[in-house]
Symmetry: C2
Subunit: 306 residues, 2 copies
DNA sequence: CGAATGAATGAAAACGATTTCATCCAGCAC
DNA sequence: GTGCTGGATGAAATCGTTTTCATTCATTCG
């Protein structure tokens, strides 16, 4: 059964296709009688709009691209969830791209966005490897927004995010203020994730500000998963001189870290201090509730997306 | 700057657009020399394929629609994550639709899938309210797959999922086997969520099988969030005759329930037994690790999607 | 009353691919 | 030489909208 087209509708309504199109998108341009007649015919004949044809004709689709680095954290739910909700209300479908922290995959997916002439792209995190590509996309007229990051001035892109450097600095300084001198850091890979590097830098700066040397053995870089957090913590605790406090600077790692401490019979915070950095609800439900850097993850993308 | 089209490429290569199209999609139909020439020209001139035009011409898009009921659980990450990964490898983009457990929103979003002539739709959970619409979509040639659910034979749709009834039966029976006679149930709203009803039915059947009357006061229905789980548990514990065991039959509710028990100074499982039902990694990291019905959530959609 | 205004509509040219038939030709068997 | 076969290619129709100009006609203004 071939689909009914706008032409067919027009014919049945005794008007031109142009009028039907207008009735659909700019109702105020069409007289009330005509519009209602068209609407009735559409309903009765089960006409289904063809989005591809519209996208082609408009040279622009209404689809929004959302990039996330992994589905294994809450970056995922917060980012995609908030954006989807916001976009739905405005009639924009959301297409999800998972880069797996891999610049090459990201490049491929970015290209797909170009092929679809998307309405815009939101990048969670920022991968320098594709800087040129992203800038050229922005120039081609594809609006790009970077979330979860504060970009250096040299990068001419819009962004919304938190100051990861400052947050990590303060978190570390808080631990130091409690009297700790050996503070561990569990963080994402600095080389690939801008966020991770910033947090590392904040941590290092806080140490330096108090004149404490940064012991590389106390810093562990891992992709942010619970399991990695657990393993990283185990490793720290097995050190000859283990840290007395640990800053787990990433979503899920703090939870894994806490489990690792518990497994070794350590109480938090009596035996070891643990500071998280997350945006997730779960930390309210651990025992004890985790001290953490609270991130307004929903609002980052929910309230400011334009 | 107007985009270069397949026509332009054809002209530069001294061939017809048809050949360019073939070089792109059916390379084996084109001689090696021609193909390589075309590829070079595409590269050098930065030609960008137009997906909308292709979708229109083919009367079919390659986009896959994925429906989830909420972004607030892990159904979300597991479902979308696994599907996205699988689809990426096969070149299918994924469009996410969040129904918010609302049939009307679901209907609107389903219609959007029709408008885009999508390659297929995967529905997480199943909402009877839209049964007719979904069936008619399937008839129109839009493949629909229901995940996380086992459908009654009367519904002619493909599905992959677990037997929620059986799982809940066994979970409840396990608690009863421990000697408990007052077993509470925290579950999603039966009216809207098929999964929730099945789990309730399994719970009720297990009680009945042992000749224990089902006390409505022990059953609390809430949308599945941690907070709701916590509140539900608090309410159960404040009953004149509180349950000695609770089956939290939904993703996040068990975690909230555990927190509520802890807040009242109850130890799990010494003072109260708690059984979860989830698919989430968290439960490995709670203290104590939660007993739970393990669901192969990734595999449900990851390995069987076709 | 003539001109100007503006609302409602139509004609027709895009938009950029895909795909079905041909067509052409080289090579090969007989 | 004739007739096939099959690989490589091209011509042209088609997909279903959108949108820019016109056009028409009824008002309104001076």
């Amino acid at each position: 059964m071939a689909q009914i087209t706008i032409q067919d509708v027009a014919q049945m309504a005794g008007v031109s296709p142009a009028t039907v199109s207008r009735a659909l998108h700019s109702p105020h341009l069409v007289s009330k009688a005509t519009r209602e007649n068209i609407e009735r015919i559409i309903r009765e004949n089960n006409y289904i709009y063809n989005a591809a044809a519209a996208d082609l004709s408009r040279r622009k689709s209404s689809v929004l691209g959302v990039f996330i680095p992994t589905t294994g954290g809450t970056v995922f739910a917060s980012t995609v969830g908030a954006i989807e909700e916001y976009a739905y209300e405005r009639g924009f479908p959301v297409m999800v791209s998972n880069t797996r922290y891999d610049p090459e995959i990201e490049a491929v997916l970015l290209h797909k966005c170009l092929e679809r002439r998307m309405a815009g792209v939101i990048l969670t995190g920022y991968c320098q490897a594709n800087e040129q590509l992203i800038l050229s996309m922005a120039e081609k007229g594809l609006p790009c927004l970077v979330a979860w990051e504060i970009l250096p001035e040299s990068v001419p892109l819009s962004y919304v995010g938190i100051d990861n450097y400052q947050a990590a600095f303060e978190a570390t300084d808080y631990l130091l203020g409690l009297g700790h001198r050996r503070v561990g850091l569990i963080v994402g890979p600095r080389s690939g994730i801008l966020r991770a590097r910033r947090r590392y830098d904040g941590y290092a700066a806080a140490l330096e500000a108090r004149g404490i040397p940064c012991d590389p053995a106390l810093v562990i870089e891992r992709h942010p998963t619970m399991l990695n957090g657990k393993e990283a913590m185990s490793r720290l605790l097995r050190l000859p001189k283990p840290p007395t406090a640990v800053f787990a600077a990433s979503d899920f790692m703090a939870i894994g870290a806490m489990a690792a401490a518990r497994e070794r019979g350590l109480r938090v915070p009596e035996d070891i201090s643990l500071m998280g950095f997350d945006d997730i609800e779960f930390t309210n439900y651990t025992s004890p509730p985790l001290t953490t850097v609270r991130v307004p993850s929903w609002d980052i993308v929910g309230s400011q997306a334009k």
